[in-house]
């Protein structure tokens, strides 16, 4: 007895999304909340490996904390990075502000954790979501965009001296102690 259902995981969310879409946006903030709740639901029901995110402990849905595990076969393998997401009230029509909380040595991340990634700037569209951003960042760890570095030294070392790069990464990395 065949049971063909490719949408098993998301089936339950379809009516909900439909409902959300049909409803008129009462307030921009409300809309963002609604969207974020849906995203969270998706993250929870179909988690992607190596990334996770959750609203911060203070209960503010516009402020999230995320975790990225360093991909294997990259200098970041085995490391865990914490990030903070701050969503604007007109999300998803504007990108969230994403920062690395964990110190990271990376060509496209500066020392205060700011990230240079086009989809978080001008290339942002409402089709992206938290999960896609996290996945993009995860892949950025393995494939930095050395054309427009924030950390020039790192960009140089990435190509020229991977060993030294790895050392710098390990030096810089420091697991955040949780409160």
């Amino acid at each position: 007895m065949p049971y063909e259902d490719t949408h098993t995981s998301t089936a339950g969310s379809i009516p909900a999304a439909k409902l959300g879409g049909a409803r008129k946006a009462a307030e921009p903030g409300q809309n963002a909340m609604k969207r974020l709740q849906t995203e969270l639901m998706q993250l929870m029901t179909s988690p992607a490996p190596g990334v996770s995110a959750f609203p911060s402990a203070d209960g503010n849905l516009l402020s999230w904390r995320a975790t990225i595990e360093g991909p294997d076969d990259t200098p970041y393998a085995g490391l865990t990075f914490k990030l903070s997401f701050e969503f604007p009230s007109n999300y998803p029509y504007a990108p969230p502000t994403v920062l690395f909380s964990t110190p990271i040595y990376h060509p496209n991340v500066d020392f205060s954790g700011r990230i240079c990634l086009d989809i978080l700037k001008d290339k942002w569209t409402a089709a992206y979501n938290t999960q896609t951003v996290l996945l993009s960042l995860q892949s950025l760890l393995g494939e930095p965009n050395n054309a427009s570095p924030l950390n020039g030294e790192a960009a140089e070392l990435w190509d020229k001296n991977p060993a030294l790069f790895k050392t710098k990464v390990m030096d810089r990395h420091k697991d955040l102690e949780d409160d």
């Binding site: 007895m1 065949p2 049971y3 063909e4 259902d5 490719t6 949408h7 089936a11 379809i14 009516p15 909900a16 049909a22 709740q37 849906t38 969270l40 639901m41 993250l43 929870m44 029901t45 988690p47 996770s52 995110a53 959750f54 609203p55 911060s56 402990a57 209960g59 849905l61 999230w64 904390r65 995320a66 975790t67 914490k82 949780d178 409160d179």
Partner: protein, 1163 residues
């Protein structure tokens, strides 16, 4: 020493008479003036009070009111003096227009010794002293010693001269007069007039004379004083009251007034002139005998005499009259005469006798008093005759009127409680008769069953009672008993009568046509129904106007004839509004019963609508009704069905009552809150709506028999199979069919819930809802609802005052809408609705008229989108019928399947009427349907495959997923001695099929464990199915849970005789239904819920993991719970305990740990 000896109380009284004479104050002016008395003191009696030795004891007595109450005669007198004193003081303060604190000082000054002496001295002694001080035994005091105010003018006495006793100025004239007086005194003393009678000024003019000199010459004084004394003697001797103590004789024989006048004219002859002259001398003594310093007012003297006589002789007589009433009066507490000892003698008659004899006594006494007055008035009249002043004549007349009024006040105020009680009883009886209110007679306690009804005009009893009442009231009025106490009494009685009438006549009378009115027809509520009248109200208004008000008018016009219209029209209106208020109160108390009696109680609602006119009453209604609801409906003893039924009645009732629904809105919260606690409420409503109307039900029953055979063939057996086509869109599920003819014939159809619901019909469902649903009036709503204002609405009324801010006027009764909105959010309702509909679609008959109708209605309410699922569901069923037909046709006859199937009895089957039908469901649109895995009988599996192929040919790229447990099957079991045909679920059919074993001779035996291995079916389902078949008498449970087929009922079995088996079978048939339902429920619960629950738990675990990974590495339980509540969509249903348990499991599983009371993920 008279004034002194009488004490301030009686001086007050004496002054009061003359004061009264000068006053036009109304009958009860005394009362209203009395309130002003504090702080206002007459200068005239200050002295008296200061000197009055007797005053002490009076005050003592007055102070000890409680003791006084026990002491009849003196109590009355005390009351009398008290009241009179008030009168006087009040009056004086009015006349003299100044206030003086002396009095209060004086009072407090000797108030002290009074109280102490009163307490100290023995009771009897005090009593004697009081009595003597108030009532002097020696009444003839020819020469008043002195008028204290003349001899000892007070400091605060502005006028210096005229004693208040002689102040005859009439009230209204007073200010003017007083001003004149002042002017006169200020300018020059007016010459004393010494001339003849003709020039004798009218009494009022005496005011103009200057005060006597403080130290008059002795000689003149002596002469004139003697003359005055002589005159005083003549007059007082003439008008003195008989001193007899046995008053019975003394005034039983007195002549009437007219005779009295005649006699005086005839007989008096010579003495008449003497009397007249003496009187003239007395009246105008200040002119004629200016030097006679010791003078007094003859009228005041007479008044004193009257008082003394009354207290001494009449009061005892009156109490004697009461004694006739005997112990009963004493035994029966006031106001509860009905409970008095039920003597044989007519209670009312006895009290009538008491009242009448008292009245007669009083009449005689009054005649005596007025005789004296008559003489005086005659004398005055003669004096006035000489003068041309009309004013003087008027004043003489006024004097008489005032005396009369004061005497009446005396009588009225001294009437004992016993007498008033008798009067009350008589009045109650008469008024009750006249008003048509049945009243318990003779003190009997049993209330009459008769309803009060307005009497007809020609009722002789009423006419007699009316006549009697008129006489009685007139007599009371004549003797002065119709005073304020009587009026209060009358008002009380009338009040009671109105309450009794309303309660008696209208309680429980709800029929609209009770009074010959016809109201609106039952089914169509008219929002514009006239809000101002109702049958009861009209009849009540009639009663008030023609009986109540009429009686009031008759009585009041007799007791205060002065008033032009004692009962003006506005009063009648007031009476009517009072009556309607009582009616409203009555109906409010009855409201819950009215609701229960709907629609028979429409008349009562008319009453309510007409009487609930103020917002206060509306509030009273809602609070009262809510209270009743809580005590009578919203408690665990009532089934949800009952509550909902009542709710429907409430909605309809309140809509009739107030079509704005505001009232309903006020009482609904309680109900809604309570209904939320009833989990089955929504289901009851939905099944109720889906129930066929009763008449349809009856028709359907007849048809059912015929249709069963035919319809069974059409009845597609379906097990939902969910197929997701890759092309997207709707998911189609073919279903398994069933085989007919083969002994274990399988048909798969329907939800397990379907049989339950069928069982419930119709008595235990809200059939009312279905009826309402079919009522066109219900569907008429909503057209103008969207418009702001319907300009053509001629019956428009403003929104009620107590409507809320966002109030929107509903257009119709809308029972269903109100009910649905009361059940919580529409989402929940729709969810429940679709699951119920799903059950009905899968199990129910081929047509879904009722479902479609309800669906239409709900669509109108919730919108198309919300009910899209239900639409799809219904379309699925319709489509699958078509698809089913197509597949069967295109695939041709099921030759492939024509494998003979051996029955347990070993017989082969004719394959030609085998049928297999499926229902194809679109998975996403149906409520969660769990797949239950088990192995179907091989022939059925083949059918399924065959059907599947047919479907795939028909709809390319789509596949079927079978929901095996949802089907229905018809099973024919051919046993050795009988054939059993049963419609059952596929599960049951599968189980019994497993008992078919062609290789075994004799009964097949299997245990649940065997079946579990064989069928791979859930154990619960297996045991339920086994119980089912055992109940049908097909299987028998043996030792160790082994079930065996009962091949032959008559054949002895291993375990017992056939009879025992049969008995067992029958017994279990009875238990069957319960077991079946239980099993169904279990199936629902165990299979459906737990899978869903597992899914949910997994999702929650993801949340917890995400939370502890990102938000914070460790969290206390409360914070986790808070975050979950905030973030889980559709709400987080767990409490802290459940969450703790859940997290505890994870800790036990090693996924988490607890550090310092905080949870964290294990690394």
């Amino acid at each position: 020493m008279q004034g002194v000896a009488w004490g301030d109380g009686m001086v007050g009284v004496a002054a009061g008479f003359s004061a009264r004479v000068a006053s036009i104050a109304g009958n009860f002016a005394g009362r209203e003036v009395a309130s002003k008395r504090r702080g206002n003191g007459g200068p005239g009696n200050n002295k008296d009070m200061a000197e009055g030795s007797g005053a002490d004891s009076i005050r003592g007595r007055v102070g000890c009111a409680a003791e006084m109450a026990a002491w009849d005669a003196s109590a009355a007198v005390m009351g009398l003096t008290e009241v009179c004193r008030k009168d006087v003081e009040g009056f004086k303060s009015r006349i003299l227009g100044f206030s003086c604190s002396n009095k209060r000082q004086a009072r407090s000054h000797h108030g002290q010794p009074t109280m102490t002496s009163a307490v100290a001295s023995p009771w009897h002694q005090r009593r004697r002293r009081v009595f003597q001080s108030v009532f002097q035994t020696d009444v003839s005091q020819p020469t008043p010693q002195t008028t204290p105010c003349v001899r000892f003018p007070d400091q605060g006495h502005v006028f210096g001269g005229p004693p208040p006793q002689t102040g005859l100025a009439s009230g209204p004239l007073f200010s003017q007069q007083a001003t004149q007086d002042l002017l006169a005194h200020a300018h020059a003393p007016v010459e004393l007039s010494t001339s003849s009678q003709s020039t004798i000024p009218a009494p009022s003019q005496s005011n103009l004379h200057p005060p006597p000199p403080l130290f008059p010459p002795l000689s003149r004084l002596d002469n004139q004083q003697a003359a005055f004394d002589r005159a005083w003697h003549v007059v007082t001797a003439r008008i003195a009251l008989p001193p007899s103590a046995t008053a019975d004789d003394s005034f039983g024989t007195l002549p009437t007034d007219s005779q009295l006048q005649l006699a005086s004219q005839h007989a008096a002859g010579a003495s008449e002139d003497d009397f007249a002259q003496a009187l003239a001398l007395l009246v105008h003594h200040s002119d004629l005998l200016p030097d006679a310093t010791q003078t007094d007012d003859i009228v005041a003297w007479h008044a004193q005499q009257v008082r003394a006589h009354f207290a001494q002789h009449v009061m005892p007589l009156l109490s004697g009259c009461l004694d006739d009433g005997g112990e009963e009066v004493l035994a029966a507490p006031e106001g509860q005469q009905q409970r008095g000892p039920g003597r044989k003698g007519n209670y009312y008659e006895r009290h009538m006798f008491i009242a009448m004899s008292s009245i007669r006594t009083l009449q005689a006494a009054l005649r005596l008093y007025f005789y004296g007055l008559g003489l005086l008035v005659q004398g005055f009249g003669r004096l006035v005759d000489g003068s041309t002043s009309k004013e003087s004549a008027d004043e003489v007349e006024e004097l008489a009127v005032r005396f009369r009024r004061d005497t009446h006040a005396l009588v009225g105020n001294s009437a004992s409680d016993g007498l008033m009680r008798s009067v009350r009883i008589v009045l109650v009886r008469l008024i009750a008769t006249i008003l048509g209110v049945p009243w318990a007679e003779d003190g009997g306690s049993a209330p009459t069953q008769q309803r009060p009804a307005p009497p007809t005009d020609d009722d002789l009893r009423v006419l007699a009672a009316r006549h009697r009442l008129h006489e009685f009231v007139e007599q009371l009025h004549n003797v002065g008993l119709a005073g304020e106490r009587f009026q209060v009494l009358f008002a009380e009685i009338m009040d009671t009568m109105m309450s009794r009438f309303v309660k008696g006549a209208y309680a429980g009378v709800w029929a609209p046509d009770y009074f010959g009115f016809s109201s609106t027809p039952d089914t169509i509520p008219q929002p514009s129904a006239s809000p101002t009248t109702s049958a009861c109200l009209v009849s009540l208004g009639d009663w008030v106007e023609n009986h109540f008000a009429r009686l009031s008018l008759e009585v009041l016009s007799r007791i205060c004839p002065e008033a032009a219209s004692p009962v003006p029209l506005s009063d009648v209106k007031t009476y009517q509004s009072l009556a309607s208020g009582r009616l409203a109160a009555l109906r409010i108390d009855e409201l819950f019963d009215i609701v229960l009696a709907w629609p028979m109680s429409r008349g009562a609602l008319d009453d309510l609508r007409a009487t609930i006119t103020t917002s206060a009453r509306r509030r009273q209604l809602t609070t009262n009704f809510s209270r009743t609801l809580r005590t009578r409906l919203l408690h665990p003893g009532r089934s949800t069905l009952e509550i909902l039924r009542t709710y429907i009645s409430i909605i309809r009732t309140f809509h009739t009552l107030d079509n704005s629904k505001v009232l309903l809105g006020h009482i609904e919260p309680d109900l809604q809150l309570y209904l939320c606690q009833r989990e089955d409420a929504i289901r009851v409503v939905i099944t109720g709506m889906l129930a066929s109307p009763e008449e349809l039900q009856a028709v359907r029953k007849v048809k059912d028999v015929a249709r069963m055979k035919k319809a069974n063939r059409d009845k597609g057996a379906d097990a939902g199979a969910f197929v997701t086509p890759s092309a997207g869109g709707a998911l189609k599920t073919p279903t398994m069919g069933r085989r007919r003819g083969a002994t274990p014939e399988l048909a798969s159809t329907g939800y397990s819930t379907a049989p339950d619901m069928a069982d419930q019909l119709p008595s235990s469902t809200l059939v009312e809802l279905a009826l309402i649903l079919n009522d066109p009036a219900q569907t008429r709503r909503t057209a103008p609802e969207e418009e702001e204002l319907d300009w053509n609405d001629m019956s428009w009324v403003p929104d009620p005052v107590d409507a809320g801010a966002n109030y929107k006027r509903p257009r119709s009764e809308d029972v269903i809408g109100t009910l649905i909105s009361a059940l919580g959010s529409p989402d929940i309702f729709i969810k429940e609705f679709s699951s119920v509909v799903a059950g009905r679609l899968l199990g129910g008959p081929a047509r879904f008229d009722q479902e479609l109708r309800v669906l239409d209605l709900l669509k109108r309410r919730f919108g198309e989108a919300a009910l899209q699922n239900c639409d799809v569901m219904i379309r699925d069923i319709q489509d699958s019928r078509r698809v089913d037909a197509t597949i069967i046709k295109t695939r041709g006859p099921t030759q492939a399947m024509e494998t003979p199937v051996k029955t347990p009895a070993g017989k082969t089957e004719e394959p030609d009427d085998e049928e297999y039908h499926a229902r194809i469901l679109s998975r996403l649109f149906w409520p969660d349907l769990e797949r239950e895995h088990f192995l179907l009988p091989q022939p059925i599996v083949e059918y399924q495959q065959w059907y599947e192929r047919g479907y795939e040919e028909l709809k390319s790229k789509r596949k079927l997923t079978w929901l095996n447990q949802l089907g229905q099957a018809r099973v024919e079991l051919e046993l050795e001695d009988r054939t059993v045909t049963v419609d059952c679920s596929t599960v049951e059919a599968t189980v019994i099929y497993a008992f078919q074993d062609p290789n075994t001779d004799g009964p097949v035996k299997k245990s649940a464990d065997d079946l579990y291995t064989e069928l791979q079916m859930d154990e619960d389902l297996i045991s339920a199915a086994l119980t089912f078949w055992a109940g049908k008498g097909v299987l028998r449970r043996g030792a160790q849970g082994v079930y065996a087929v009962i091949e032959s009922l008559s054949a002895p079995n291993d375990d017992g005789t056939a009879g025992a088996v049969k008995g067992e079978a029958e017994a279990s048939v009875a238990a069957d239904e319960g077991a079946e339902m239980e099993a169904a429920k279990k199936q629902d619960g165990a299979a459906g819920l737990s899978a869903k629950e597992m899914e949910r738990r997994a999702m929650y675990w993801q949340y917890v993991k995400g939370m502890l990974t990102n938000a914070s590495a460790s969290m206390p339980l409360a914070q986790v719970a808070m975050m979950m509540k905030m973030l889980v969509p559709d709400g987080f249903p767990w409490g802290n305990e459940e969450l703790q348990e859940f997290l505890g499991e994870k800790v036990a599983a090693g996924e988490m740990e607890v550090v310092g009371g905080k949870y964290r993920l294990k690394k």
